[in-house]
Symmetry: C2
Subunit: 209 residues, 2 copies
DNA sequence: GTGGTAACTTACCGGAAAGTCAGTTCGACG
DNA sequence: CGTCGAACTGACTTTCCGGTAAGTTACCAC
């Protein structure tokens, strides 16, 4: 490919690069995705990526911001509503699935364990991911309080469990792309109901442990 | 450090290396842990690791086998018992926490996403990890059947959710090392009970979605 | 003692991927 | 038509890491 401009304005190219990066980071994670691969996926060369985003973690941070922005809005919307407990949980799931429907893999980069912990990524995280975690903690705390559980450690533990449950559902979704967001919501409701209605929902006698 | 033997027999050294690798793989994952770091952690040099384990994925496979072996036994023990539904779930959690108590980070390498998908690791996975997944699917399927849910896709989705819940609890445990295995079991029971007892456990009206 | 073997290390190779340089091409505007 | 800046690239350097070669030390059997 010869050098020289192809007449694509910077803003457009940046969007293309972010789309490509979103796909690859979402599929393979930060660590095992090379900038060169992103460039190829976007149909351009590596130096252009560096010219526009500075460094690999700058690219990732930009991806992260764009991805998280709409999600946070949707989740905050539910939080402002009047639902509580498991109902709020289900509504939140519905909001997440609906937002994610065009490209579910986006969820993966929000909790990518191989992403850098400092630099621009840290800033993007503080701006958005922490807000998701805070919202989750609020919802979980509310639900536990209603159920008579008030220990802050319980609340923290339940928060990470809840986030991981969402993670698992999205992962399962990625392996079943034929499912619609609505399918996913209905399935989640069935599963939550099944757990809640499970006959042996009382704790087993301590002697059994 | 001069070359030459230090008089440590191979079996002992192998155990030391596996201990070090277990720690580092558990903390940072396969991809971001270098063989050199494992060697330093074990107090020896890199070539010795290669001499004993052949390659990086051989080392990881050895780690994985050792880690999973006792876990599978413990979980199978519960599966052979007569408990079902959530009670079986809690008993399984208790068995996992008890087995993991000496070094909880071991759990992480069982489901390390950055581990290689073929070679020796594949074999180790087939031998052990797949059995954990199968056991989980059995237990989950049984529980869902009792609750009147029979869709195989529901069962598969619930299986990955359940495994991720265990994952989340172990992760939380790693950040709260002062908690005993028994503490973790009691906490899990409290959380499961809270979900089951949550007032709004009926699905919300479709119109709300 | 002395030779053989098991336990070790320093110093290196080669590839992959982050990041950089020195440009080349093209459209826009005078 | 000239020229200036924005878009764009091939080729390079650097760093890190998996893996290896070749040699050193110490124990042990005879």
């Amino acid at each position: 490919m010869r050098a020289g401009t192809k007449g694509v304005p910077r803003a457009d190219r940046e969007t293309q690069i972010l789309d490509a990066a979103d796909r690859l980071f979402g599929a393979g994670g930060y660590a095992s995705t090379s900038v060169d691969a992103v460039a190829r996926e976007a149909g351009i060369s590596k130096p252009l990526v560096y010219q526009y985003f500075g460094a690999k973690d700058g690219l990732f941070a930009a991806c992260l911001s764009r991805a998280t922005h709409t999600l946070v809005d949707a989740i905050e919307d539910v939080a402002r509503g009047e639902s509580v407990g498991l109902e709020r949980g289900v509504l939140t799931l519905a909001a997440i699935f609906a937002t994610l429907e065009p490209h579910p893999y986006t969820w993966r980069l929000i909790f990518d364990g191989s992403a850098p912990a400092d630099g621009p990524t840290r800033r993007a995280r503080q701006e958005y991911q922490d807000r998701i975690v805070d919202l989750a903690r609020d919802g979980v705390g509310e639900m536990l309080t209603l159920a008579g559980v008030s220990d802050p450690l319980d609340r923290d533990a339940m928060t990470v469990v809840w986030l991981r449950v969402v993670d698992a559902l999205v992962d399962w979704w990625l392996e079943h792309p034929e499912q619609s967001a609505d399918d996913m919501v209905r399935r989640s409701v069935r599963l939550i109901t099944a757990v809640a209605a499970s006959p042996a929902s009382a704790p087993p006698p301590p002697s059994a442990i």
